[in-house]
């Protein structure tokens, strides 16, 4: 049984959302400074066209009026005619009706491939419909790089990594300089375990030197492959200067720099960079900030950050997880899965939650789904082995553990603990104790006492469940370790399993975080201003002048 993968090793690797979602974010927007739009419409011509429509009616004349809607300065008049056309019952084509309704609602005409379905993981029909839509676009126009990215995501989610790789390659050939394509390709290569290839792609690309989004990806990928980053210095200069790009464009770069500075031990610098990252964070940056909240010791409140957290399923999930709100965590994990169905991380968490709840049918469903996307996801395999053991299928569990060992050695303590459980089930208690203790020792050697405490919890509860003669001692040990090393995982588990009478959960106490802004009230002028900057721990939120 593993802990959640969420609580370790998170980097600012680009997110791979459905294309239409990404295109709606600042990540897809231009780096140039926005200019005030100029009035471009021909007001006189619009008046003549409206007069023609009033005189003649007909869809042709109405279409000529609606054509002016592309000029924002004429929108008001065009919308008035559109409303009149609908209300008056005059001739109007089906497409005109649809365009008018979306025009007036301010929405887009085309829904994103994944937006019109909820929880498609449970609705194969809806998922197939979404795939059909992407395929229809490609059938009409196969040189459409963004549609290839969506197709690749569906293929990766179905575990067809080789076909997904081909789709990614096609997208790269069609638009080798497109930022979304480059970042998605890098994310995909990480997904299939080719991290070096991902790093090479971004690091060697000509656009990276001038694009903060690609620079951020390069720094995060360099960290992943444990290589020196080619752009960290340049990135740091850009972040320090802070004037070259809009805050939204610098968010991921600042976050990546902050993570590196934190790793290097420069907490003060790291906090400053993180503050830049949090000026206008995207969903990836805010999730990273929630993930590293304790390390940075920064408060993530205030209207801007609150809104950013609400827009990120991953950030919300991390928050719910940290506060032990299992239901909220499950909802957000499912939404995150909707966004990145190829990723094993939300699946891992959903499986864990269901295992904690002892809903083994649901846990099995999620694990099967996750393993379909990534048959070699070692943590999913270990959890499946645990599940099989709990269901009494010990041979199957053993086979899975053999596979997990072959794939990844670093999970050995988890593998040993699962074998310990299997011994308890077979009533081979002393052998089971030996395996559990070996697992705990290995966690201790790896300087991870929280996982050691987590492991002792499972040992204690399973000892009690399977009639271990020394169960009481195990429970006492677990209580002692959890008191010293409490974690969100142990608390959620105890809460969901109603095992609080055996082992006491312990509240996790965080030190007071520092605020990123201070409100300054000038009594003389009656003006309230916001002062940006990392505050001292005891700084008041509001000061008077």
């Amino acid at each position: 049984m593993t802990t959640t993968k969420l609580l370790k090793d998170r980097r600012l690797i680009p997110k791979w959302r459905p294309v239409k979602q990404t295109l709606a974010t600042p990540e897809a927007s231009s780096l140039a400074v926005p200019v005030t739009p100029v009035a471009t419409g021909d007001h006189g011509q619009l008046q003549r066209d409206i007069a023609d429509w009033r005189e003649n009616g007909g869809v042709g004349f109405l279409g000529t009026v609606l054509a002016h809607s592309v000029h924002p300065d004429l929108n008001e008049e065009v919308f008035a005619v559109a409303r009149e056309a609908v209300a008056s019952g005059r001739d109007i084509s089906p497409i005109q009706r649809e365009v008018i309704s979306t025009m007036l609602s301010g929405a887009g005409l085309i829904a994103e491939p994944l937006a019109d379905r909820a929880f498609t993981a449970l609705d194969r029909g809806a998922q197939n419909a979404a795939v059909r839509r992407v395929r229809a676009i490609l059938r009409e126009n196969n040189d459409n790089p963004l549609a290839w990215l969506d197709l690749a995501q569906f293929q990766a989610a179905a575990g067809k990594d080789r076909t997904a790789e081909r789709s990614i390659q096609v997208a790269l050939q069609l638009a080798p300089n497109n930022r979304t394509v480059l970042r998605t390709a890098a994310r995909f290569f990480v997904h299939i375990g080719q991290e070096n290839r991902a790093h090479r792609l971004i690091s060697n690309h000509a656009r990276t030197a001038s694009d903060p989004w690609l620079m951020a990806s390069e720094i995060a990928l360099a960290d992943l492959v444990e290589k020196g980053s080619k752009f960290q210095k340049l990135g740091s200069r850009i972040v320090e200067d802070g004037r070259q790009f809009a805050p939204a464009h610098m968010s991921e770069l600042s976050g990546a720099i902050a993570a590196q500075q934190l790793k290097e031990g420069s907490l003060k610098k790291a906090r400053k960079s993180q503050m830049m990252a949090l000026r206008s964070p995207n969903d990836n940056v805010i999730a990273q900030a929630v993930f590293q909240k304790t390390e940075f010791g920064l408060a993530l409140d205030g209207p801007g950050l609150g809104q950013a957290i609400q827009s990120s399923n991953e950030a919300l999930l991390l928050q719910h997880w940290a506060t032990g709100e299992a239901e909220g965590a499950e909802v957000q994990a499912r939404l995150w899965y909707e966004q990145e169905p190829f990723s094993s991380r939300p699946v891992q968490l959903l499986a864990l939650l269901n295992i904690y709840k002892a809903d083994y049918t649901a846990a099995h469903w999620w694990l099967t789904l996750g393993l379909k996307s990534d048959a070699n996801a070692d943590d999913l395999i270990i959890n499946m082995a645990y599940l099989k053991a709990r269901l009494g299928k010990l041979d199957e569990a053993q086979q899975l553990l053999v596979k997990a060992r072959r794939l990844e050695k670093k999970h050995e303590p988890f593998t040993k603990a699962t074998e310990g459980l299997m011994c308890y089930i077979r009533k081979e208690f002393s052998f089971g104790d030996q395996l559990y203790r070996q697992a705990m020792e290995e966690f201790s050697k790896a300087k991870d006492p929280f996982k050691m405490a987590y492991c002792s919890l499972f040992m204690a509860l399973h000892a009690a469940e399977y009639g271990h003669p020394q169960a009481k001692e195990h429970i006492a040990l677990a209580n002692d370790l959890i008191k010293r090393y409490p974690s969100a995982d142990t608390n959620i588990f105890l809460k969901l399993r109603n095992a609080e009478s055996l082992v006491q959960p312990v509240d996790i106490i965080e030190s007071d975080p520092r605020n990123l802004q201070q409100l300054v009230y000038d009594e003389r002028t009656n003006v309230l201003t916001i002062k940006h900057g990392v505050q001292t721990r005891d700084a008041a939120r509001l000061i008077k002048r």
Partner: protein, 374 residues
């Protein structure tokens, strides 16, 4: 132009006047009915015995009221002369899908005031523009839409052959003209669709008044490379080759016309609504690069699927969508017939587009006839 003249303009006072050539200006047309796009003329319906024509009357009074009279006069005369010469060139080449030039003459003012002379351009007259022919329909007949496309494509090709780019193809500049030569069971051949208003054309090798404009036509119908005011460095659009700059714009406007005949919407309107907010012309501040082109490509595909699927016989839908995607490609250097673009000359290939559309029109007509027999 400003209107500093006193009293009505002489070009508006010609109803009932008889030209030297025998044409009687029987009815002054409302400005919108002619909708020529060239804002300086007044339209008249003219008759000579059984013959009918359209007369565009232009005077110099407004120009004489401008602060810089010489410049205004020069601009006006250059535009009028250019349009007349272009129409003449088209008539001499026997273009069958462009409104025919008949003749021109000057009408003198009764009091001999030379400044109040009117220039009259006599042209073939039609029944009305494309918008008029769409009256009473909310869902469009497939064969009719394909006829419009095939004939307008022919018109564009005829112009391109003479190295003329129309630059202002839109519903009001497609005129339905009676055709006595052919008849088909559904009356499709009773009318022929012709391109009108050559007032905004550019000609390769002939200096014209709109050569300096990167896009001289109606901005509601322009191709996407012109939607973004800051997307190109200064001078880039002006220095594009003829095919990528001028002919490719005509190809795009043909695609827009297809969407208009099927849905009553311009392509620009539908595509804009399919675009994510970040890439909309009022929001995007970057260059016309791969980031933007990829988003435009996706939006065009979605718009075309939306407007074509379900409105066209499935037997012709695939090929029509293929043509539509080729002629509305957001990258002007790739816009046009795919085969023609791959060849060494790298042409837009309006001849091939026209042939492909004619074949589709014939097929759609056959389907419609077959359905009626059942």
């Amino acid at each position: 132009m400003s209107s500093q003249m006193i009293g009505p303009s002489p070009k508006d006072l010609l109803q009932g006047h008889v030209l030297k050539s025998g044409w009687v200006l029987v009815k002054r047309l409302a400005r919108s009915a002619t909708s020529t796009g060239s804002s300086f003329g007044t339209g008249y319906l003219a008759e000579r015995g059984q013959e009918k024509s359209f007369v565009k009357a232009i005077d110099f009074v407004d120009a004489l009221g401008e602060p810089d009279v010489l410049a205004a006069l020069r601009a006006l005369t250059t535009e009028v002369e250019f349009e007349r010469d272009t129409l003449k060139a088209c008539a001499e080449a026997g273009l069958g899908h462009v409104i025919r030039y008949i003749e021109h003459e000057y009408v003198s003012a009764p009091n001999g005031d030379l400044a109040r002379q009117v220039f009259c351009l006599v042209m073939e007259v039609g029944d009305g523009d494309l918008r008029k022919t769409m009256e009473g329909q909310t869902v469009f007949r497939c064969a009719w839409a394909l006829k419009v496309m095939a004939e307008v494509a022919k018109g564009i090709y005829e112009l391109h052959k003479l190295r003329i780019a129309h630059q202002d193809i839109k519903p009001s500049n497609v005129i339905s003209v009676p055709n006595s030569k052919k008849t088909s069971p559904f009356g499709y051949d009773e009318k022929i669709l012709k391109l009108s208003d050559l007032g905004r054309v550019t000609r390769q090798g002939v200096v014209g008044p709109f050569d300096g404009y990167v896009f001289p036509g109606d901005t509601n119908y322009m191709p996407p490379e012109h939607w973004y005011p800051n997307a190109f460095a200064p001078g880039i659009l002006q220095s594009r080759p003829w095919n990528d700059g001028r002919e490719a714009a005509d190809a795009y406007m043909l695609g827009s016309l297809l969407i208009f005949t099927l849905s009553g919407m311009t392509l620009q309107t539908v595509v804009t609504q399919c675009l994510p907010l970040t890439f909309r012309p009022t929001v995007w501040t970057g260059r016309y690069d791969q980031d933007l082109i990829a988003a435009l490509k996706l939006a065009h595909t979605e718009a075309l699927i939306k407007c074509i699927n379900g409105y066209i016989y499935f037997e012709v839908a695939d090929e029509l969508k293929k043509i539509a995607l080729e002629i509305t490609h957001p990258d002007p250097t790739q816009r046009g017939d795919r085969r023609a673009r791959r060849e060494i000359a790298n042409e837009v290939g309006m001849n091939r587009i026209s042939q492909r559309l004619s074949a589709l029109y014939a097929r759609a007509q056959a389907i419609e006839i077959g359905q009626s027999k059942k």
